[in-house]
């Protein structure tokens, strides 16, 4: 296995772990953190692709993903705060207005 393969498989693994965490945890903050993890995995895959194809596009896209992720995280925490203002629980099973 060479470097590129390693980075690809590693990135894939991190993405999968992140998705697993998103689905299987009940705490809202945990879900957000696993989402972050997943995005990090994606960044790793992008870098691996950049190395594989020997150009810079993957890396630059990864950088832009940083920015977007940061902004998104800010908004996500904000929404979370608004949510728990009412319900006072971080348990995601109580938030089921989409039912039916």
């Amino acid at each position: 296995m060479n470097q590129v393969e390693l980075l690809f498989y590693g990135g894939l693994l991190i993405v999968i772990i992140g998705l697993l965490g998103v689905i299987s945890r009940k705490n809202l903050l945990s879900i957000l953190m696993f989402q972050e993890l997943s995005l990090n995995g994606v960044n790793l895959v992008l870098v691996a692709g950049s190395i594989l194809h020997h150009n810079y596009h993957g890396a630059i896209l990864s950088f832009i993903t940083f920015i977007v992720t940061a902004a998104e995280m800010a908004i996500a925490i904000l929404i979370l705060l608004l949510l728990i203002k009412k319900r006072k629980t971080l348990d995601v099973t109580f938030y089921s207005e989409l039912k039916g």
Partner: protein, 170 residues
């Protein structure tokens, strides 16, 4: 060189697995920080210095600090601490195993054949100088748009927090 790559990659994956196993969100956040740092080292070893620095500065330094603050200040003890796992765990494992398996299989087919030829070393393609040049040449529009995005985010935050006198703060 590869051994270092392998080591820190494995460390990153291990931290991610630790994240899955712990219960308290604070411990989870710290594990996430560990993952991100390891990933930054991996980027650095691969020659993407900008990304390594960016990862540490933006992700660890801003995003994760923010997360840790939130976890600390929202010290809510509810049912999600007692039973941290939702009931979709098993189904998720099955489905994700399937996706992982298929992705691995396809990656192995494409990547392996492609890398049978020698990979040209990255050199300084992703170093500061090259990176910045290409970034601000080709991706200038993306840069500007992302700044607009950050502006929108700021406005949203202020609206929600509602800085007015006499009103109930968050």
């Amino acid at each position: 060189m590869l051994k270092l790559h392998l080591l820190f990659c494995c460390l990153a994956v291990a931290s991610a697995v630790v994240m899955l196993l712990v219960r308290h969100p604070m411990k989870m956040a710290l594990a996430l920080v560990a993952t991100m740092l390891n990933l930054a080292i991996v980027y650095g070893l691969s020659g993407a210095h900008v990304l390594a620095i960016g990862q540490v500065l933006i992700y660890v330094g801003a995003v994760m600090i923010f997360m840790i603050y939130v976890v600390m200040l929202l010290d809510i003890k509810d049912s999600s601490l007692v039973r941290p796992l939702s009931r979709y765990l098993f189904a998720a494992v099955v489905v994700l195993l399937l996706i992982a398996g298929i992705s691995y299989h396809q990656l192995a087919n494409t990547v392996t054949t492609q890398t049978l030829q020698a990979i040209t070393p990255v050199g300084d393609m992703l170093s500061f100088r090259q990176f910045s040049e290409h970034f601000l040449e080709e991706y200038w529009l993306h840069f500007e748009l992302s700044s607009v995005l950050l502006l929108v985010t700021t406005v949203a935050a202020i609206t929600v927090l509602n800085f007015k006198k006499g009103t109930e703060s968050l």
